[in-house]
């Protein structure tokens, strides 16, 4: 919002400070200033000169060399204007001057002749549209005088305040309210032009004529209160220059004096109003009521709007005239020939105005203000100020009757808040004197009684929702004193141990293990996903339940049911650049409301060969690192399917799959992706993925337990044998005999190697270690153990290779 400092100066004497300091002070104490702008300040350096000599440019027919004087010095410029003549007085901009277009004059040769600045046209100075030739000044214009003084033009300084930082301050949407801030900030008195005598003077214009328009407010409507006043015999004309200047300065276009008055009062006092051509009102009553469902209404901008039965309109006998709080209609505004007017100053429920304007996409100066919650008490003053200006600009105008009102009972009682210097100092961390606190509050129009424990009366225009309790008063004190005066201190709360939550600890273990041991890069994928990607991944669950109403794109319109589709997509991106890579994500998958699972995903990709064994090795090491006991099972041996991977998903490799059970629950799976799905993602190579749901272990700490066993003093004995294993079987099947051995002295049984023997069999070499912690095993005992091993292997179908 643009603030004119000239306008502010109507109400408060601003100190002589640099404008940038002033803007910064406002930022630090009230609201953020985004920009400082100067209006017409260039006119202070443009001077009146008189042309003394004109000569043809030697190189160009259409250009002249014009010599002129400012009374003491002469200079010469190259000039192409048609209206040059000796004796003419014109404005001159010397080298270094910046004109309104942002163009700064530099020493420049035009066709070989140096031009010392520029003689200006009105449009070049931002003083009108006429581009034809130099601006001709009056003959008696004093030479050397600056144009601002000569033309008696106001220069102004504007500060542009971020609207968002005024969201909670309805009182700052007009210059008078802003002036009060400056008065408090600079401890300089506020000049309240709207005094009792001003009020009495205007009220004296009221008379006993019958009111031409009566009001009827429907209680269900959004109207909080509605003031109206009829004025006859106005003259619609152009507005005076001072009004045009001010409106233009804050970015409004001048229309005519009556429309301009309504805008002027809104910008000054912060309360929007509407002025009707009374002769266009059918009948003698305005009804403020809820619109009909699907009622059509054409707003001032000539757009037809469809209303709902929650919108409020203002109607005469046969039609709606105004969309309450938002915009007037195309049919009731003041025209060039309007004679008699009706002034509306009303207040509306903020949330209703907001709903209507948001739904219609119609954000106006009016709706923006009303949705901040304005104060009903300010309506009457606004009405008087409007009348004030109407009478000033239309001296023949005459009030008909007196103001009419309908709506809720006006309550001008000021809310009271109890607080104390102790509270305010405590929350701010300051040690202010009570007197200081009191004077700051008073400068902001609060009434304060008491010396340390205060009772504070809140001005009604601050109480619509901004100031509710003593914490709000603390903010008033803090910002005016300046937050930079607060001493910076560490609190002392007692010293207690703090440790990472189980969730965080898990996160860090994953990140550390996966990056350092698994040599993988952490990635993040979007928790939002679309049907397209799910279908591309052939994912059976589309997670419709967790879809959004207002998604921005069909590619991100629901929560992901799995990390797998994202993983396929990311793998696809990276196969273009790397022959081998691995990545992991610690992300959430969303099963239902209140059911977000913390899932680890790890992907290994290799263009040349399967990384599945590598992935299993990493997975097992990771589970050991976490200290979790786990069981791996192939698809055939799986007890319960893993919930992370739908069994009907066709992306599963027929063989390379193992699920992972922890504490009796199947919480994850490691698998390779079926080439049929890889093909859909244009992935050429081998992609193996681990998915592991670790939610259960994010709730309580997993303790990794280490147990010490005394190291045996007796040697162990090793026994190797090689058996035939059918190719359809995993070599590890042979190790299942260890259970049948039931031998306490069997220390370990492992595979040494497996090699391709013939078409049917692999030859698998096994190694068994026997030892006893109390004695050295005798040769006979060892022999019997070995025979038992061979025996059991044979019984299981694994014959010794001979």
């Amino acid at each position: 919002m643009l603030i004119s400092l000239n306008w502010i100066k109507d109400f408060v004497n601003l100190p002589e400070v640099n404008i940038h300091d002033l803007a910064n002070t406002f930022t630090m104490k009230t609201a953020e200033v985004e920009e400082v702008k100067k209006v017409n300040s260039h006119l202070e350096v443009i001077r009146v000169v008189e042309i003394t000599e004109i000569a043809k440019h030697p190189e160009a027919d259409k250009l002249n060399l014009v010599t002129f004087t400012d009374g003491s010095n002469t200079a010469r410029v190259v000039c192409g204007a048609p209206n040059v003549k000796v004796g003419l007085k014109v404005p001159y901009a010397k080298i270094g001057v910046t004109l309104p277009g942002g163009f700064t004059l530099e020493p420049k040769k035009i066709r070989g002749v140096l031009s010392e600045g520029m003689l200006c046209s009105a449009s070049e100075l931002g003083l009108g549209d006429g581009a034809s030739g130099l601006m001709e000044l009056s003959n008696d214009a004093p030479l050397g005088e600056n144009l601002k003084t000569h033309l008696n033009i106001n220069s102004d300084t504007l500060i542009d305040v971020d609207n968002k930082s005024l969201t909670h301050r309805p009182d700052l949407w007009g210059h008078f309210g802003l002036a009060r801030e400056f008065s408090a900030i600079y401890e300089t008195p506020l000049n309240d032009k709207f005094s009792e005598s001003w009020k009495n003077n205007l009220e004296s214009k009221f008379n006993s004529d019958p009111n031409p328009i009566n009001l009827k407010v429907q209680p269900e409507s959004s109207c909080l209160g509605f003031w109206g006043l009829s004025v006859d015999n106005i003259t619609v004309s152009e507005s005076p220059q001072w009004m045009v200047d001010r409106l233009e300065a804050v970015g409004l276009r001048s229309i005519n004096n009556i429309v301009d008055i309504s805008n002027y009062v809104m910008i000054e006092l912060g309360l929007p109003l509407h002025i009707y051509d009374r002769d266009l009102i059918n009948g003698n009553e305005l009804k403020i009521h809820l619109a009909k469902e699907n009622e059509k209404f054409t707003t001032l901008d000539e757009m037809e709007r469809t209303l709902l039965d929650t919108d409020t309109v203002i109607s005469d006998n046969d039609k709606a005239l105004v969309l309450a709080g938002v915009m007037g209609g195309a049919n009731s505004g003041v025209q060039d020939n309007s004679k008699n007017i009706f002034i509306e100053v009303a207040n509306w429920k903020a949330e209703e105005v907001r709903k209507t304007s948001t739904r219609l996409g119609l954000r106006t100066d009016s709706s923006t203000r009303f949705e901040k919650s304005l104060d009903l008490n300010l309506c009457y003053r606004t009405l008087l100020r409007t009348l004030d200006l109407v009478l000033e600009l239309c001296p023949d105008a005459k009030v008909v009757g007196k103001p009419v009102y309908d709506g809720s009972t006006i309550n001008n009682e000021k809310p009271r808040i109890k607080t104390s210097s102790a509270y305010i100092n405590n929350i701010l961390g300051l040690e202010l004197e009570s007197g200081k606190i009191k004077s700051i509050l008073e400068s902001l129009d609060f009434e304060v009684t008491g010396s340390n424990d205060f009772e504070v009366k809140v001005p009604t225009y601050r109480a619509t929702k901004d100031i509710e309790g003593q914490h709000d008063l603390a903010e008033e004190i803090g910002r005016i004193v300046g937050y930079d005066t607060i001493p910076i201190k560490s609190p002392f709360l007692g010293v207690n141990p703090v440790r990472l939550t189980p969730y965080k600890e898990m996160e860090r273990k994953i990140q550390d293990f996966m990056s350092l041991h698994a040599k993988s890069l952490e990635v993040m994928s979007y928790p939002l996903i679309g049907k397209k990607l799910l279908k591309k991944a052939s994912w059976p669950n589309l997670n419709e339940k967790l879809s959004l109403i207002n998604s921005l794109s069909v590619d991100q319109d629901r929560m992901r049911p799995s990390l797998v589709p994202n993983f396929l997509e990311m793998a696809s991106v990276n196969t273009k650049n790397f022959s081998d890579f691995s990545f992991f994500e610690w992300g959430r998958v969303y099963n239902d409301f209140e059911d977000e699972r913390n899932v680890l995903g790890l992907a290994f990709f290799s263009k040349t060969s399967s990384s599945f064994v590598n992935l299993l090795n990493t997975s097992e090491k990771f589970l050991n690192f976490l200290g979790l006991n786990y069981q791996l099972a192939t698809k055939e041996n799986s007890r319960k399917p893993c919930s992370l991977i739908p069994q009907k998903w066709k992306g599963l490799h027929p063989h390379e799959y193992m699920d992972i059970a922890i504490r009796g629950k199947t919480l994850g799976a490691a698998f390779s992706v079926h080439p049929i799905v890889l093909r859909d993602f244009k992935i050429k190579g081998h992609l193996s993925i681990l998915m592991l749901d670790l939610t259960d272990f994010c709730k309580s700490q997993v303790q990794k337990a280490h147990k010490y066993n005394p190291i045996s003093k007796f040697p162990s004995s090793q026994f190797d044998c090689t058996v035939l294993v059918p190719k359809s079987m995993h070599a590890s099947e042979t190790l299942k005999v260890t259970k049948k051995l039931k031998n306490k002295d069997l220390e370990s049984a492992k595979i040494v190697k497996s090699f391709d023997l013939n078409d049917e069999h692999n030859a698998v070499t096994l190694r068994f270690n026997f030892s006893n912690s109390n004695e050295t095993l005798s040769a006979e005992v060892i022999k019997s153990y070995e025979e038992k091993v061979v025996d059991e292997l044979a019984q299981a179908g694994f014959n010794l290779k001979v």
């Binding site: 803007a23 930082s165 703090v498 991106v573």
Partner: protein, 346 residues
């Protein structure tokens, strides 16, 4: 006799220098200092020597015997080394074929840059006694708005474009401030925690805007917690992040869940002292913060008459982007390892 011993040593040296086999060396040892070796032969003549000579010959003979023995051992060791080296020559490996010279895809491991910064900040707060919490992404209106003093009619709901689910009851959290309420519900003052996590806004994406990004929320509640304490922690945080004292300023800011509410800016560029206009510029808006609104304390089950507290929020992605001069926020969620590998540990 002494001469004989001397010349024996000279002879030995000549002979041993040409030997390359272990057996030859052992034979040479027997030849010179074996029981029937040359030295023993010479020593047989000791009987005929004078007393004076005997006194010299004894030690001399021992000395020569010792140095021959040592020379033999040296020679044997050298022969072994030579044999081993010949074997090693055959087993030679090419250690230039290591990862850094090989094209074998991407071998790299590391934490996502956002999580690196997040962990750093978590650790800073952990060291100052703050816990680290998180909460669900799918939230209710209660946690995302009402408990945070943002009633339905509040214009602040316009400021945050919220993703809503079909049931019209659930939404994606628009800020990590939801963690404030959940954190308070489970604790009794005094307490302090931070809450980093993902948040979601219904905003068009471009190089600086994402629908999904990361914030870090922080809160401290206790008796007599005041604005000075808030500034203390913010300054400490910034000092730890940037490893130098940062100039900060606190100015009024409006957020429904705090009162008083502030924007904390950091001085990002040193202004030119001669330039009036730039004197107040160079600030970067970084941390919205404030004293927790009494309604929010109440919603979290904390008595606002007894306790006060502060809260703050920090955009993590923005910090990552500023820190590494990243030009497009969308890389953070793309999973393109050409991006992620630039922040790897190795």
């Amino acid at each position: 006799m002494l001469d004989k011993i001397e010349s024996l040593w000279t002879e030995f040296q000549k002979e041993i220098s040409s030997l390359e086999k272990q057996a030859d060396v052992l034979n040479l040892k027997a030849k010179y200092i074996g029981k029937k070796g040359l030295l023993s032969e010479i020593m047989k003549g000791l009987r005929d020597a004078s007393v004076e000579e005997k006194k010299q010959i004894g030690p001399k003979s021992n000395e020569v015997k010792n140095i021959i023995e040592a020379s033999i051992q040296d020679s044997l060791k050298n022969i072994q080394i030579k044999e081993i080296n010949e074997k090693l020559d055959k087993e030679r490996i090419d250690f230039s074929l290591r990862d850094s010279n090989m094209d074998q895809g991407l071998i790299s491991g590391g934490i996502h840059p956002t999580h690196q910064i997040q962990r750093k900040i978590e650790d800073i707060f952990l060291s100052m006694g703050f816990e680290v919490l998180d909460g669900p992404h799918i939230e209710t209106e209660h946690y995302n708005f009402e408990a945070l003093n943002i009633p339905e009619t509040h214009p602040a709901r316009d400021m945050q474009d919220t993703f809503w689910f079909q049931d019209k009851k659930h939404l994606l959290r628009t800020h990590t401030s939801t963690i404030q309420i959940r954190g308070m519900e489970e604790r009794k003052p005094p307490f302090a925690f931070v809450g980093p996590g993902k948040v979601f806004r219904c905003e068009r994406t471009d190089a600086t805007h994402e629908t999904c990004f990361h914030q870090l929320e922080g809160m401290m509640v206790g008796e007599n917690i005041n604005t000075g304490h808030l500034i203390y922690f913010m300054k400490t945080l910034l000092k730890e992040i940037f490893q130098k004292d940062m100039e900060v300023r606190l100015r009024p800011g409006y957020f429904p869940f705090v009162e008083p509410g502030f924007e904390l800016d950091i001085r990002w560029k040193k202004p030119d002292p001669k330039d009036e206009e730039a004197k107040h510029s160079g600030w970067l808006e970084l941390l919205p913060c404030g004293m927790v609104h009494p309604n929010v304390l109440k919603a979290g089950g904390v008595d606002p008459d007894k306790y006060t507290g502060f809260a703050f929020g920090l955009g993590l992605d923005r910090l990552v982007m500023v820190n590494y001069k990243i030009d497009d926020i969308r890389y953070l969620h793309k999973g393109d390892l050409r991006f992620n590998s630039q922040f790897s540990h190795f």
